[in-house]
């Protein structure tokens, strides 16, 4: 059983500070939805408003079409997984998992049965008698999930639960979380500042900045068609090229920059006029070194400053004529041994792989 969650014009204020500002979002039942944003952007506040620990100053939270105002966290059909998991250290694993059943007066035998079922779900069969501190990081993580699922909540809320794990484990847990979500088929609302986590797991994401939602959409749509310069630079990496709009031809826009004119694609929601200050964005992986016979909409002269080897890709840092810094990535499969610092070369990118937006705040400022 899953439930949809609706935030209607939700604002949360602390004194004169807006932790969340007029947030409107409708999360569908059974969806894996992520709030993505830098620390302090208000995403945890929203999660606390949904779980019932924080009353919205304005607006309302609806779960399953029911207004939740005045309903405490212990009465809502939600379960929250805390950032530090908050497992109960003095209880055994089984007791932890069955705690929500214990407080509902479920008999000891039934509790044990349900705990065993959940232990099986998280692949920890037979480890119910252990104390929490005897488990590894990943096992604790799974126990926290089982404990949250024990009451069969309609919505599971996750507050950056993977942030304490090391890289490999984090990647494995992403897959596991996604699988568990499919199996139990309930709404997952996930909070993270890690765009990799958000993109790999979610059906849709909401990118937040300073208490407001900048963009909501499916992961690829947000990544490929950012609506604001903040989203363009927060979700994934992006090279901004600042300039003025020179020509508009349907959805193709030519921008005039100190480093030349570039053709870019306009987002239909963000209308630009000739003469407007704008930023064209091009991602590091969309910049190519042209080979014979290649033709690109845009060509750009760069001077290589430095590079780093990341394994699957090689990152190059270069400067343009105007001094603007730019980053591009070349797959390791392509031989780039001839390129080193000081090398001058030309890069190309397609207009369809570049988006142009009105000038505004970037995430990397």
């Amino acid at each position: 059983m899953s439930a949809d969650v609706e935030l209607n014009n939700v604002s949360v204020t602390f004194g004169s500070f807006y932790a969340a500002k007029s947030v409107n979002v409708k999360i569908n039942g059974g969806e894996f939805f992520s709030f993505l944003g830098p620390s302090g952007c208000g995403k945890t506040t929203l999660l606390r408003a949904i779980s019932g620990f924080q009353d919205p100053s304005e607006g309302s939270v609806l779960i399953d079409k029911k207004d939740m105002s005045g309903i405490g966290p212990n009465k809502r059909p939600t379960s929250l997984i805390f950032q530090n998991l908050a497992l109960f250290p003095l209880m055994s694993v089984s007791e932890n998992i069955a705690f929500s059943l214990e407080v509902r007066g479920v008999s000891k035998g039934d509790r044990q049965k349900r705990a065993d079922e959940l232990l099986e779900l998280i692949a920890l069969e037979g480890q119910g008698e252990k104390k929490v501190h005897q488990l590894s990081g990943g096992q604790k993580q799974r126990v926290a999930i089982a404990r949250a699922l024990a009451v069969e909540p309609k919505v599971l809320l996750l507050d950056e639960p993977l942030s304490a794990l090391d890289l490999k484990l984090r990647q494995r847990m992403r897959t596991e979380l996604r699988e568990i979500q499919k199996r139990v088929n309930i709404t997952f609302i996930y909070i993270t500042h890690d765009q990799g986590e958000a993109l790999t797991m979610s059906d849709r994401i909401a990118v937040m900045n300073e208490g407001e939602i900048e963009q909501i959409g499916p992961c690829d749509a947000v990544y490929n068609n950012p609506l604001t310069p903040f989203v363009a630079t927060f979700v994934g990496e992006n090279n901004p090229l600042f300039g003025k709009v020179k020509e508009i031809n349907q959805n193709k826009i030519k921008i005039e920059t100190p480093d030349g004119d570039f053709l870019s694609t306009m987002n239909e929601n963000k209308k630009l006029n000739i003469g407007d200050e704008a930023i064209a964005f091009v991602r590091p992986e969309s910049l190519f070194i042209p080979r014979d016979g290649d033709s690109f909409d845009n060509l750009i002269d760069v001077n290589i400053e430095s590079f780093e080897f990341e394994g699957n890709i090689k990152n190059f840092y270069a400067t343009l004529k105007s001094g603007t810094k730019i980053k591009f990535s070349i797959p390791n499969a392509i031989d780039t041994s001839s390129i080193s610092s000081g090398t001058k070369l030309q890069l190309g990118f397609e207009s369809i792989k570049s988006s142009i937006l009105p000038k505004a705040q970037l995430a990397i400022d």
Binding site: P73, K75, L80, N84, A86, E102, R104
Partner: protein, 309 residues
Amino acid sequence: MGNYFFTQPFFKKNGKAVAIYFLVAIVFWFVFLVIIPQLYMLDLSFRSNVPPLARGGPQDYYTMEHYQHFVFGSKTSLDAFNFVDLGVFGRTILVSIMVTIANLLFCYPIAFYIAKIANPSTARLLIVSLIIPFWINELLRSFALRILFANEGVINNFLTGIGVIDQSILFITYDVGLYTGLVYAYILLMMFPLYNAIESLDINQIEAAKDLGSSSLRTHWRIVIPHAKPGIVSGCTMVFMLTVGALATPVVLSSPNTLWFPQLIYQWFNMNDNWSRGSAYSIILLIISVIFVLAMMRIFKVKIGEIVK
């Protein structure tokens, strides 16, 4: 030999001067202030009561008579047991247990409020206002309560003044004053261990319990109290030991016809000039205190190391 001594890690870590100070201070404290006086008392409690000049003479011999006196009374008494002293002892233990429980019930909500609910400035204000009254000496605080509870005291005068009662309530006679005074006397020694223990609980634990559907009461029972157990045991043992050994408060506040066990000890030492018997009674009190600590540790399954944390 000396060189070997000074090359030990303890000396290297702290430096010679500090290390020697630590050793001397600890040895002095432990040997001269704890072990020797207690051993002397223990020895004295098994000796016959003789004037100092007769010490070591034929009248100075080892005996169980003081302990026998506590249980069976004087040899000339017709009663089978020393009902008076045993009664005082039993009542002192019982009342001390009640005082300890009252303290715990009183302090727990306040400690929880200060540690987990109040904002930092309110918490500071509350802690300061808890401490300030204790800048006044215990004896003076007891007298203040006496003035409050006396037959012609503040409370009685006020109640008769507004016409609620026509006769004074005998607070002192019925030991209401004593109980209040005892609860008040060592309340901070319950408050601070409790506060420290609750304060160290991760607030997410409480929220997690709540999120999983637990009521406030059950969250306290299953999460907060188990976590605060060492603090509870620590507070209870300290309050019990100090209450059971209190002298100033009972002297000022107990009714004329009740005695507190330390008053009895005081009488043997100072009024009856029988140091041996006083020592025997002190040892009995000490044993009971130790038994209480061990019982608390047993009941709450806490180790001594957790209590002193």
